[in-house]
């Protein structure tokens, strides 16, 4: 019984409490000074994972243990959570109220009902079906070895043999270590956590992020939003037109970093670019001189974009390429539309972590060995 309570508490802590508390601040400004529950969770989820990436890579490079990583990441997230609580306490009571969807008609309710039924069906399938993927031997093997031995990436997950060399191909994208920290704290087998519990959060979260974009798309016709969401679930269920699609990854490899980058990181970057585009347009319209200003919304969006980029790197080495490509394309489009070079300059700021990790990747061993040598001196 105590073990079950521990599992539930730690799972809620990582998948509920941390994302909600850390997401309060950016969500308030991105959501036009309204606290929208889905937006808060989504923002916090990326802040949590983005924040985790930094201690994770440091602990791995300096060969610290899983216990070190757990303590440091917990402290970091607790600090960010306390910041969120303080921020909330500083607000007036009416500003603290959660903002929910407006009243809906009968048809809209019915359509949302269908969407949630389809979503539950998708989640049940992900729990009931086994989708074998060869890469799990590495990712989930690494997580399991980290819990078993306490060492991060120092055991070859394929053979279970200790090794001296770090695996430079994977250590800068240590999402399996996030699974290891959670699994270790919960006292649950990491494979059960990854295959059964995480999809119950990650699948709805992916749709929630697309839903945020949908809200902007259908501002004028909000009754079309549930239709959009239903179509998205259907497209996901029937999206296995090749083994490479993001939909195949969402259902078949939900717990892998690659799936998270395809189904959460890139959609969130897409949403933030949409928000920024909208915000820049509003500034042009609302200010008497039509000049762009550094607003709270812009700063919050850019900061969150930085966290999204870090999450991308945490999930896959492809994060160094995919998120910058997507963001730069949209930044250029916004800049051209608004005829403002400032947009591109602002858009480059969240790419700083990508540039740092990109350098580490490109120079691979050279840089890391240099850092290690500096540490030993």
């Amino acid at each position: 019984m105590l073990q079950l309570l521990r599992e539930i508490f730690v799972f809620i802590l990582w998948m509920g409490i941390f994302p909600v508390l850390t997401g309060l601040l950016p969500a308030y400004y991105i959501g036009r000074r309204k606290l929208q529950p889905v937006l808060i969770w989504c923002c916090g989820f990326f802040i949590m994972l983005g924040a985790f990436e930094i201690p994770a890579t440091i602990c791995i490079i300096f060969r610290l243990t899983l216990t070190h990583l757990t303590i440091v990441s917990l402290l970091l997230l607790m600090m960010l959570s306390v910041l969120g609580i303080f921020f909330l306490m500083l607000k007036e009571p009416e500003e603290r109220r959660l903002s929910f969807h407006k009243k809906m008609g009968k048809e809209e309710k019915f359509l949302w009902g269908i969407f949630f039924l389809l979503l539950i069906f998708t989640m049940v399938l992900s729990v009931m079906m086994m989708t074998t993927d060869g890469d799990d031997a590495y990712y989930l093997g690494s997580a399991l070895q980290a819990v078993r031995t306490g060492y991060l990436y120092l055991v070859d997950p394929y053979t279970g043999v200790f090794r001296n060399e770090l695996d430079y191909r994977h250590i800068l994208s240590p999402f399996p270590m996030f699974i290891a920290v959670m699994g270790d704290m919960m006292g649950i087998h990491t494979t059960i956590l990854a295959h059964v519990l995480l999809p119950l959060v990650l699948i709805p979260a992916s749709f929630a992020i697309w839903g945020l974009s949908g809200k902007i798309f259908f501002k004028a016709n909000p009754d079309r939003l549930p239709v959009f969401m239903i179509l998205l679930v259907l497209f996901t269920l029937f999206g296995n037109y090749s083994v490479y699609t993001r939909e195949t990854f969402l259902l078949g490899r939900t717990w892998q970093g690659k799936s998270i980058i395809a189904n959460m990181v890139l959609p969130m970057a897409f949403y933030l670019m949409l928000t920024l585009g909208e915000h820049v347009q509003e500034q042009r319209r609302d200010y008497y001189d039509g000049k762009l200003r550094l607003s709270h919304t812009a700063v919050a969006s850019l900061l969150l974009l930085g966290a999204v980029n870090l999450t991308g790197i945490l999930c896959s080495s492809m994060g160094i390429l995919l998120t910058p490509v997507l963001e730069l394309v949209y930044m250029v489009i916004i800049a051209l539309r608004e005829k403002s070079f400032k947009v591109i300059l602002g858009g480059l700021l969240p790419l700083i972590p990508v540039a740092v990790y990109g350098l580490l990747y490109m120079t691979e061993k050279g840089w890391i060995i240099l850092l290690q040598n500096m540490y030993q001196l």
Binding site: L125, V155, H189, F218, V227, M229, F235, Y241
Partner: protein
Amino acid sequence: MVATALEVMKNYANYSGSGVMPLLFFASLFFVALTEKDKVVRGTMLYGSVALIAINFFVPLYYVYSRLIDASTYWRLWWTVPIGCGLAYAAANVIGEHKKVGLLLALLVMILGGDFLYTKKNVNGEIRPAENIYQIPQQVMDIVDAIKLSGEGTHIKAAFPGEMLVYIPQYDGDIEMPYGREMLDPNWHNGVSGFYMLMNDDVVNFQELKPKCVQNDTRFIVVNAHKLKVDEPEDWDFELLYSFEDYQVYEQKEIYNIQEEYRWRE
């Protein structure tokens, strides 16, 4: 240059499968171009998507990518294009007020043009109902549990057939293996282990397996029960420990004796 361009097209063909869904997405973009008035949505959905598609088809990028990174992962750039979102957006607008009929029609299009993941027989691995909460074949777990029981208190090293290599590291990290899943992955060393080649052979040859076990300190081997055995396991110091539906677990007695001797000394 032409060869690289063909590679880019092949990459797209691999990603798009039958091609129906991406074609519908291109049609959606056309629809957005004709109907969308909102500048922000138009910029994000139409111009953004077109630019990202152009980047995917940009031959010099593929050339640089294939040389600096890895051509076999270039298809991941397609993840930046919001195919599902664009399709759903255009379809929701086409459907408009005729929601029920429209959704049924959309479902029909998805069934005909798409593919349902869970009915696929073999897509990059096995897809079937889970037998347990680990989502790992029960037989594999039973075999690992049996080996751990027999090797309790000792350093356990076991050799498994190729089809099990993906599951063992996910289920139990205590068991060492002389070779791992890298044998199945072309990105790694792909089958350079002589031990694996013997284990993966069509027949079981205990005479040849014995020196491999001794050299690699491997006490247990798991072989497919339906494979033809060219010699008697007992002749080469192998003892049958467990028989499962499709597999048999053998213990190499020479390794066992050495391990026992060390234990006794300690």
